[in-house]
């Protein structure tokens, strides 16, 4: 399977490494707009073509393309890949697009071109979140009643007021919050945003801390908190606490805790959940995600989350922003 990677930042490099270790997969072309990056990567990718424009990947016989550019360019790059027939199968790093309108267009394009499509919400491939989903689906805590979730990091906890450091990352909702939103959609199905507040910490108009309330099917009430200005979150942390009629489940990247109303508390660490992968770089979930995409391409099957499922995250982010009116504080 021949793969091209567009965008050679952290994620582009990570996926390239994993793909190269997967049996039968080869990264044969990489693309970045920066000539400095291209110069360095020509040395690193000795067996791959290094180009400055996705159009130059036309005719290379690529089976799949990974789009790992910054979010604002996803829309144009994905469109270019499809309309120029660079490849039939596409993986796009989260979020699918800058807004729901763009995401919807990309979904339509994907549908008309066929092939496998996937968006990089890799938390679905973390063993702890998978275990929690299994417990919920098996009705271990009974009918669901409420949930609370957070996504925190210290990325800008020490940035000074007025700092422009976060500009290249967009807002905290797309950057960090999209993962927790995708997990909630995966766990509970469609959500409705009830209210939202967006705080600007770094500078006027920046989106640094967001709190919003949601309602899921069956009237389940949920509270979500997202911030990249939290102290002591050395690594980004994603957590969900789900209350059911018969107990509670708390899950994060490292552990799952089950507290049944009648019965003993149970805890699973990654250690207990078979976390080994074929090649570990970054986190095991990246490998599982890429393995699932490649398998779907090779077998012509479906993989989660596809563009359609991922577009729901873009929709919800837009809804949170729309609902924030009158709730902002700076």
């Amino acid at each position: 399977m021949k793969v091209g990677v567009v965008g050679l930042g952290k994620m582009g490099l990570l996926h390239s490494c994993i793909l190269n270790t997967l049996p039968g997969v080869e990264v044969v072309a990489v693309c970045d707009r920066s000539w400095v990056i291209r110069r360095v990567f020509k040395k690193l990718f000795k067996n791959a073509l290094v180009v400055d424009d996705v159009i130059k990947m036309v005719g290379l016989g690529l089976d799949a393309v990974y789009v790992t550019t910054p979010i604002p360019s996803h829309y144009s790059v994905v469109k270019a890949v499809y309309s120029n027939k660079v490849a039939r199968h596409l993986f796009v790093e989260k979020t699918l697009a800058m807004n729901f309108g763009q995401a919807k267009e990309l979904c339509d394009l994907a549908e008309s071109f066929g092939g496998v499509n996937m968006v990089g919400y890799m938390k679905r491939y973390a063993v702890t979140f998978r275990k929690a989903k299994e417990l919920i689906d098996n009705g271990v805590i009974g009918d669901l009643e409420s949930l609370s979730a957070y996504a925190y990091s210290s990325d800008f906890a020490e940035a000074s007021v007025g700092s422009k450091e976060s500009l290249s990352r967009g807002g905290v909702l797309s950057d960090l919050g999209s993962h927790i939103i995708d997990l909630m959609l995966w766990f509970f199905g469609d959500l409705t945003v009830e209210s939202a507040a967006v705080n600007s910490v770094l500078r006027s108009g920046s989106e640094d801390a967001v709190h919003f309330n949601v309602k899921a099917q069956g009237g389940i009430f949920g509270e979500v908190d997202v911030s990249w200005c939290k102290r002591e979150y050395r690594m980004p942390e994603f957590s969900l606490t789900i209350c059911g009629k018969d107990g509670l489940i708390k899950v994060d990247d490292d552990q799952v805790i089950l507290e049944p109303k009648n019965g003993d508390l149970r805890k699973w660490y990654r250690h207990d959940l078979g976390d080994a992968v074929g090649f570990l770089i970054g986190a095991p979930e990246y490998y599982r995600e890429d393995e699932a995409f490649v398998k779907a391409v090779q077998e012509g099957s479906h993989v989660e989350p596809d563009f359609f499922e991922a577009s729901k995250v873009d929709y919800l982010i837009e809804e949170v922003k729309r609902r924030r009116m009158g709730n902002d504080s700076q």
Partner: protein, 301 residues
């Protein structure tokens, strides 16, 4: 099979950075609890007094301050140092704050120039002009070595500089045998053991064999524990690879599986691992340091 031999015992620095691979909740608690540089140096010193042969650390401002403090306290004794470069967390953060790889590159270049290490700067100029990745790596190693020696003094024996797992895994995944070779040659010229940290030990062994790179004189730090935590692709494959790389100086990391086990519970498993030459373990309290290294000294030395 029980093997009767003496293992190198190293104290690690993960708890000093507030790292716990068991849970991030524990990481935060540790981060809040970790005391002054004096206290952290005391943890290393207590470990050394109770059987540790050396200190394995990521080169960062915190660990260099600890090493500096140890230099004052143990001027007569010294210790063995195993340094891991780069301190990836610091660089990932820097990349976040400087807008990606380009900003990070500029920052590192600035740091090297201001370190005043002429040799490193010379390699760096060559590396930049010719986009010579091996020269850039050498520049970086010299710069980090300069930082270590400035803090540690002459008594400290830098046994090995280990490439952080991110660099090792990248080199393995992208078939950068030329870079691995250049690094090994360079380290041997510096009369230090070329080191690699990896969580893909069997993959490394397979690749090095393909590339005809011998294991003699290499230091490899990689997880070994009873539950296969971070042992990829499996515990069994890692144990098999250990037999195949018998000439390497393999140091077991994550031996307690991030606090999943107590030291006494892992002794028999580690002793059964033929070819495991040493272990590294982190401690966060003085009594942990005393007890952990006393147990390992009594059972594994």
């Amino acid at each position: 099979m029980t093997v009767n031999r003496s293992m190198t015992l190293l104290v690690g620095d993960n708890p000093f950075h507030g790292i716990s691979h068991l849970s991030q909740e524990r990481s935060r608690a540790r981060g809040a609890e970790m005391g002054s540089i004096g206290y952290l140096a005391g943890l290393v010193e207590t470990s050394l007094d109770n059987g540790a042969d050396g200190f394995m650390f990521s080169v960062s401002d915190v660990t260099l301050s600890i090493v500096k403090e140890l230099r004052k306290r143990r001027s007569d004794l010294g210790f063995e140092a195993y340094a891991i470069v780069p301190y990836a967390y610091e660089y990932v953060r820097a990349s976040t704050h400087t807008g990606g790889f380009l900003g990070l590159g500029k920052k590192v270049a600035k740091d090297i120039i201001f370190s005043g290490n002429v040799k490193a700067a010379a390699f760096g100029v060559k590396g930049i002009v010719f986009t010579d990745i091996a020269a850039l790596l050498k520049t970086y190693i010299l710069y980090e070595l300069h930082r270590i020696k400035s803090s540690a003094g002459k008594k400290v024996r830098v046994k090995s500089i280990l490439l952080h797992e991110i660099l090792t895994e990248m080199a393995l995944a992208l078939d950068m045998d030329w870079l691995v070779r250049a690094y090994i040659d360079f380290m041997q010229k510096l009369k230090m053991s070329p080191g690699f940290e990896t969580r893909n030990f069997p993959y490394l062994v397979k690749k090095f064999k393909e590339w005809n790179i011998g294991f003699e004189g290499l230091t490899i730090a990689t997880p070994f524990n009873k539950v296969g935590f971070q042992m990829n692709p499996s515990k069994e494959e890692c144990e098999k690879a250990l037999v195949e790389a018998e000439d390497a100086n393999v140091i077991g990391m994550s031996i307690l599986a991030a606090g999943y086990f107590k030291p006494i519970e892992v002794v028999s498993y580690l002793k059964e691992l033929k070819n495991l030459k040493g272990v590294v373990v982190g401690v966060s309290r003085l009594h942990h340091a005393r007890d952990t290294f006393r147990i390992f000294r009594e059972n594994m030395k």
